[in-house]
Amino acid sequence: MFLAIKEMKHEKLRYGLMIGMIFLVSYLVFILTGLSNGLSNLNRAAVDSWQAQSIVLNKDAQINLPQSVISNRDRQVLKNKGAQISLLSGLVQNQAGKKDSAQIVGIKTNQFIFKRLKVTSGTKELHSKQAIVASAFKTDGFKLGDTLKIANTQVKVKIVGFTNNATLNMVPVVYTTPKTVNLAKYDGQQTTTLVNGVAFASKKPTLGTLKDSKLYSAEQYINKMPGNRAQTLTFNFMIGFLMVIILIVIAIFLYILTMQKLPNFGVLKAQGLPTSYLVKNTLLQAALLAVSGVLIALGLVLITAAILPAIVPIKIQITMILLSGLAIIGMAMLGALIPVREIIKLDPYQIIGG
């Protein structure tokens, strides 16, 4: 579209500023999307890495794994189905005395959670008093072969491997055997291993008749994670609000620009140029502005994500970013409809008089 492009080339500063503005807001939206994604990921990364589709929890536990205990009766019904999870939240301390919060997760090596675990360094084996731990611990200097003391207990585990994406409720995970978890929990006083929940790889596994427990979907479980919902809502609200701001700002800017150009459009209309041609040019201009702004923001977000320290929980999911990018472009087009109305209404005689 000749007119639109000609004008943008001639008025570089004006349109550059507009692109800059769209870029800034898009960048903010993308960063927020990434942060929202990243934070929610800290909650759920471990569950996602198991690719669990459903989980059996005590029905009185309000879908909360740490609060859930599977009754002996239901454990008999479930037997070896799914993957049992024994959980202990606490602190671990390495030889150097460095302490870290950890979710100590007991899993059986013959069940699917262990089988799906991807070990990035060390060996994929898990015997009593051994642990495969979240890579996040590396930033605190934890190494293969380190012995970790579980705080307030006599139990020590040895790091035999590291694994990525292992955070549960924002806290990095230490995978070990259920027996080790039990030992830490009860100091050897209790012999039956306590099971907090049983995860399943399918949505509707065949279970026996459960009495004290219930099957929940993985999504149900994740949504009930403490703070998860409030956090997601907050971010969605901010992002939605920014979208509305984009809509208004673009509408205002395009409106002002178009009002300034009305005399030109009036002359072109007087010459007989079809209104549709002028409208198409205006829409194309809005699209060009929005697409350029969004693309620049996209590039910069990728760079930002690459150089930000790992501790900042930004997770760029390209489909999410593309979706919000499209939404921004959609908003820009919506904002362009107001100036388009002015062009359609424009009576050339009003402009050319004299």
């Binding site: 000749f2 080339k9 001639h10 007087a270 140029l273 041609y277 050319i352 004299g354």
Partner: protein, 223 residues
């Protein structure tokens, strides 16, 4: 045969006590091959007359016909198509598009219309109008008279049957003004256009086939 006709045309601006009759009972006809000059003082209704003739305004009464088709019965879109294909309008305020070069002011219509003048024919006109060295300039780099000539050339580029010009020589020196009028009369005689020029510039009378006078909205034939 191409013609433009106004029958009993009246134009009243405003309503109630602020009513002002800018044109009274105009009967007028322009045929192809003729150059018609309409002279009149400022405020006499020249622009009103010309914009009504081009379909940019509707008359309060009476009819405007172009090639025997009544403008009042056409849709806005049809009228716009008619202007695009048949009418070359030179505006009193030349209103060039600020971000297009002189060359692009002309060729813009290529985007929506074919059958514009061939390059060789148009270049001849550009030479007559003294625009050849200015083609790559933007309007803000031109003098008022240069802009006016660009506006004239822009009206001619689409090879219209009717050329309606509002004070086309207001910013031109006598020599240029006469060159423009000679170009118009050539276009009428050789290319069979109908040319209507409104002006307060009496220098131009010698170059027209017919001359009318417009005073306070009333039209008389002088020649």
């Amino acid at each position: 045969m191409a013609n433009l006709e106004l029958q009993d045309v009246k134009k009243v601006y405003g309503t109630g006590s602020s009513q002002y009759e800018a044109l009274t009972q105009i009967n007028f006809k322009a045929n192809q091959g003729e150059t018609i000059l309409i002279v009149g003082p400022s405020g006499s209704g020249k622009t009103t007359f010309l914009t009504i003739a081009a379909g940019l305004q509707t008359p309060s009464a009476g009819t405007v016909k172009i090639d025997d088709k009544v403008l009042g019965t056409m849709s806005v879109k049809q009228q716009s198509q008619l202007r695009l294909h048949k009418i070359g309008f030179v505006l009193q305020a030349y209103n060039l598009v600020p971000y297009l070069t002189v060359q692009e002011q002309f060729t813009l219509v290529d985007k929506v219309k074919t059958a514009n003048l061939t390059a060789s024919k148009f270049n001849e006109m550009l030479a007559i109008l003294g625009l050849t060295p200015l083609l790559d300039k933007y309007p803000n780099q031109l003098s008022g008279g240069q802009q006016q000539r660009v506006a004239i050339a822009r009206a001619l580029y689409g090879d219209p049957s009717f050329i309606l010009a509002d004070e086309p020589t207001a910013s031109l020196d006598t020599e240029r003004a006469i060159a423009v009028m000679q170009l118009f009369s050539q276009l009428a005689h050789l290319a069979h256009k109908a040319v209507i020029v409104v002006t307060h510039d009496t220098r131009l009378e010698d170059y027209a086939d017919h001359v009318y006078e417009l005073v306070d909205g009333v039209m008389h034939r002088l020649k």
